[in-house]
Symmetry: C2
Subunit: 129 residues, 2 copies
DNA sequence: CTTGACCTTCCCGTGACTGGAACCCCCATT
DNA sequence: AATGGGGGTTCCAGTCACGGGAAGGTCAAG
């Protein structure tokens, strides 16, 4: 398979697939003309990566998870550890965003949103607590 | 005031303050020795920027908000519009993260986390839905 | 006079790609 | 044989909002 077909099958942009090769996440073969030739195991890997990225894992996490995936002697505890650390990050981010949203929500509610200049949003940003 | 004092007062790193000058968000004077000299209005602006950034506004949003802040003839509707657009982004992000968290949470719960290799997390990533 | 805490500019790196230029390859049609 | 179009390739630059660190100027205290 050429990169375009793989892109269609995995939903990953060709650019992304090339990038993943560049950083060593996948190692397709090369045809005589220089084209990348992807085996089914490469496509499988790319699907794995796509799903892991969709869950928000960093590339480095993906690298770790891939290694565990391919290691038949892994301990599931190691996988779980990575997943839990990632979930902690996500929850921290959600907490941050919720705090922002709550503050913004109050400010937006308090703002008349008409053609007058008075604005609690700007007052708050300006330090008038 | 020199940059160090401003950094202490605003909580912004000196690097960040220099960056804000570079992109034109603040325009401190210069002393004869080349040091930046910040007036109280500069410090005020920087506090404004710090708060806006803490609410997650992009730098470009900050630029817009600052302009509105300094425009006595603004309409609060314009401010509210920026804030609402930003809140929509935040809510979208929260939704994404919640979805990730839910999926991760299920997978983590399903994973034994012991020294055996069987792992529903990897199974899921591997495409075994 | 030297020390050390400031300050300056400049350049590189971050994460995970995306866009674009310049060029090669292959097949089909004229 | 030339041409056109739709693949593919590499490489370079840009994104966003800074942070790290080098190399060097400035200033007050001891």
């Amino acid at each position: 398979m050429n990169i375009g077909d793989v892109s269609n099958q995995t939903g990953l942009p060709a650019k992304t697939i090339r990038y993943y090769e560049e950083i060593g996440l996948v190692k397709p073969l090369r045809d005589n003309n220089g084209y990348r030739r992807f085996r089914s195991q490469d496509v499988h890997k790319l699907n794995f990566l796509g799903r892991a990225r969709a869950l928000g894992f960093t590339i480095e996490d993906c690298r770790t998870l891939m290694a565990l995936y391919e290691d038949e002697t892994r301990a599931s505890a190691d996988v779980k550890k990575v997943a839990r650390a990632h979930m902690a990050q996500i929850e921290a981010k959600i907490a941050d965003l919720n705090a922002m949203r709550d503050t913004l929500s109050h400010l937006i509610d308090a703002c008349a949103g008409d053609d007058r200049p008075d604005c609690p949003i700007l007052q708050d940003l300006g330090g008038k607590a």
